[in-house]
């Protein structure tokens, strides 16, 4: 059995897109000094609202929009707690995870009268886009073509975020807030507005991550379907130093290792060990990326405050 084939990479790209989207969202929060461990909840909210939107409108576009909207609603709640009421972001983030899990499960029951999972075979998911021209290139075509629009969105969003943060004025100010909030305040920058802005944007990104999960990868919602992706996104964010391009790298590394670990299941090694692979490789990667993410995150010493 060969370990590396196109489908490995294609599958990695697919699997990684919600993680990348959420990591970008987390990075935006980190860039304004808020460490967001509520990504898991935000993605789940997005996944659920996307399905709701899809069910009622029958349109995938509206579904994606409602997914993003769901993410935004929850992120606003998170923002309210952390920015307005200065709640500890980690506690608030964990609470968000609990809260959304409860809300979506309840929503399943209240809206769809089902428990556990909502699946409707008439529901259409996101289309698969074949990229003209690229599609026909032998290897690359297999890899890059035929993904859902949100997969492309994830990578484009990373690049846009890069441009936004490092080339525009508002991005510049966001960076400033994260680097030195006190100084930003003393300059008269409206730190609060920038923070809310970043949090809302992160809600959008996580909402899209959820939509990709519930409409792109599969077309259904199941209770707790994020299955820890929010935390992986958090790791990808930190490993990528909250830098959009870095995060493409770190989430791809993780995705590839994850896809590889699945293929290793075939060999006579306990699955527990193959499943460790992505985590172990990520730890090893950290030996080479020592100072990553240090500056940009508010989490470092805040615990002792």
């Amino acid at each position: 059995m060969e370990l590396f084939d196109y489908s490995l990479f294609a599958s990695a790209i697919r699997m990684v897109s919600p993680i990348l989207l959420a990591a970008l969202g987390g990075a935006l929060c980190a860039r304004v000094g808020i460490f967001n461990v509520g990504l898991e909840g935000l993605i789940l909210a997005g996944a659920f609202s996307a399905i709701v939107g899809n069910y009622y409108s029958g349109s995938v576009i509206i579904a994606v929009l409602t997914g993003a909207f769901g993410g935004v609603l929850v992120s606003l709640l998170f923002g309210l707690a952390t920015i307005k009421f200065k709640a500890n972001p980690i506690v608030a983030g964990i609470a968000i995870n609990f809260l959304v899990l409860g809300l979506t499960t309840f929503g399943l029951r209240a809206i769809f009268q089902v428990k556990g999972a909502f699946y409707d075979k008439d529901m259409t998911g996101l289309p698969k886009w074949d990229l003209p021209l690229i599609e026909n290139i032998p290897v690359v075509g297999n890899l890059l073509s035929g993904h859902s629009p949100l997969v492309y969105t994830a990578f484009i969003a990373a690049i846009l975020l890069y441009v936004f943060l490092f080339k525009t004025v508002v991005g510049f100010r966001i960076l400033a807030v994260g680097k030195n909030e006190a100084a930003a305040r003393s300059l008269g920058l409206n730190v609060t507005v920038l923070q809310y802005g970043a949090i809302v944007a992160s809600g959008v990104l996580c909402g899209l991550a959820g939509a990709q999960l519930s409409l792109g990868q599969v077309t259904m919602f199941t209770e707790g379907m994020t299955a820890g992706r929010g935390f992986i996104a958090l790791v990808a964010m930190m490993l990528g130093g909250s830098h959009p391009i870095g995060m493409i790298g770190s989430s791809l590394l993780f995705g590839l290792m994850d896809a590889l670990s699945i293929r290793l299941q075939g060999f006579s090694m306990p699955t527990q060990f193959t499943a460790m692979l992505p985590y172990v490789i990520t730890i090893i990667a950290m030996f080479f990326l020592k100072d990553r993410g240090l500056e940009s995150q508010a989490s470092g010493q805040q615990s002792s405050r």
Partner: protein, 317 residues
């Protein structure tokens, strides 16, 4: 208050039954059915039923104890996870009746309802072996835990007995509730040439079904007849009558015929089965499997219920 209640049995007209589930039923059709079956019987036979879901492992014992304290006459629980807790609680309350579905607890006041899923898994494997055109068959399994061997080992046995050439691919999702990953695994197996991929990944099966639809291979579901979901691709379903088990238990208790001991549900008792072989299905048989294969599986089934063939429980070595 509680300790007083402990000894006194309530003398109200209707009997009170508690169904203590070891998990939140949400992600698991297995528990959903059980709940439905019990509810239906409760309604039919005029007993009061309360379903209590446990949020986690340590809540099971707690919930059992509270159910005792609150004076339920029969406390039904389920599955291996509750084993330890039930052993403790039942032993401490010898005057109370208990039942446990899907595992064995050997106590004088406990009825154990046991399923022989492996028999059904064997049949499913056999059907797969007879149907596959590529001689490659896959299975997407929730987690690599001992319990799942009841599915994987017996399935492989059935597969190999009917089709020695067939290759068996197995992949583990690592979660009971990750359809996205289950789908990727199914796609992977399909890309390796499997034309039949059995789903055994709880909620993940929905992901397997989607993969089948997308790539045009065939698949099967678990517990209830899932062929309705997508008759074109979900061509078989391995059945498990937890609803019947719960129904029967409640019914027996309501009628006064409830007895401690072991109640077995295997192929013979029609507690487990396979669509088209042991149970009818609303959807017509798909040509991928074909009547010929079904007939062959049926003869295997006959051998088993006749006792000529014994499928070992992979867990009891």
């Amino acid at each position: 208050e509680e300790s007083e209640n402990n000894s006194s049995t309530t003398n109200e007209d209707s009997k009170k039954i508690a169904l203590v589930l070891p998990e939140k039923m949400g992600v698991n059709p297995f528990f959903q059915q059980m709940d439905e079956g019990a509810k239906q019987a409760a309604e039919e036979f005029g007993v009061e039923l309360k379903t209590i879901e446990s949020t986690d492992h340590s809540a099971i014992e707690e919930n059992l104890r509270v159910a005792v304290a609150e004076g339920y006459d029969l406390i039904i629980t389920s599955s291996f996870e509750s084993e330890d807790a039930l052993k403790k609680v039942a032993a401490e309350n010898p005057d109370r009746q208990f039942a446990i579905i899907d595992t064995l607890v050997d106590l004088p006041n406990v009825q154990s309802v046991n399923f022989r899923e492996h028999e059904a898994a064997y049949l499913l494997g056999a059907a797969a072996g007879l149907s596959t055109k590529t001689d490659k068959v896959g299975m997407v399994v929730a987690m690599d835990i001992p319990l799942m061997k009841k599915w994987t080992v017996a399935f492989e046995q059935g597969l190999k007995e009917t089709n020695p050439e067939a290759e068996f691919l197995v992949n583990y999702v690592g979660s009971f509730s990750d359809p996205a990953k289950a789908k990727e695994l199914a796609l992977l197996q399909a890309s390796k040439g499997a034309d039949f991929v059995a789903g055994a990944s709880a909620v993940g099966d929905l992901g397997v079904f989607e993969a089948a639809k997308e790539q045009g291979f065939f698949t099967s579901g678990q517990d209830i007849d899932r062929t309705e979901v997508d008759p074109e691709h979900v061509v078989l379903s391995q059945l498990k009558g937890t609803d019947a088990a719960a129904f029967e238990t409640v019914k027996a208790f309501a009628n006064g015929s409830f007895e401690p001991g072991v109640v077995e549900y295997g192929l013979k008792e029609k507690g487990v089965g396979l669509t088209y072989v042991t149970h009818e299905s609303k959807t017509p048989l798909h040509s991928f499997v074909g009547q010929e294969a079904i007939d062959q599986v049926k003869s295997l089934y006959d051998e088993i219920i006749a006792g000529n063939k014994v499928i070992e429980n992979p867990l009891s070595e």
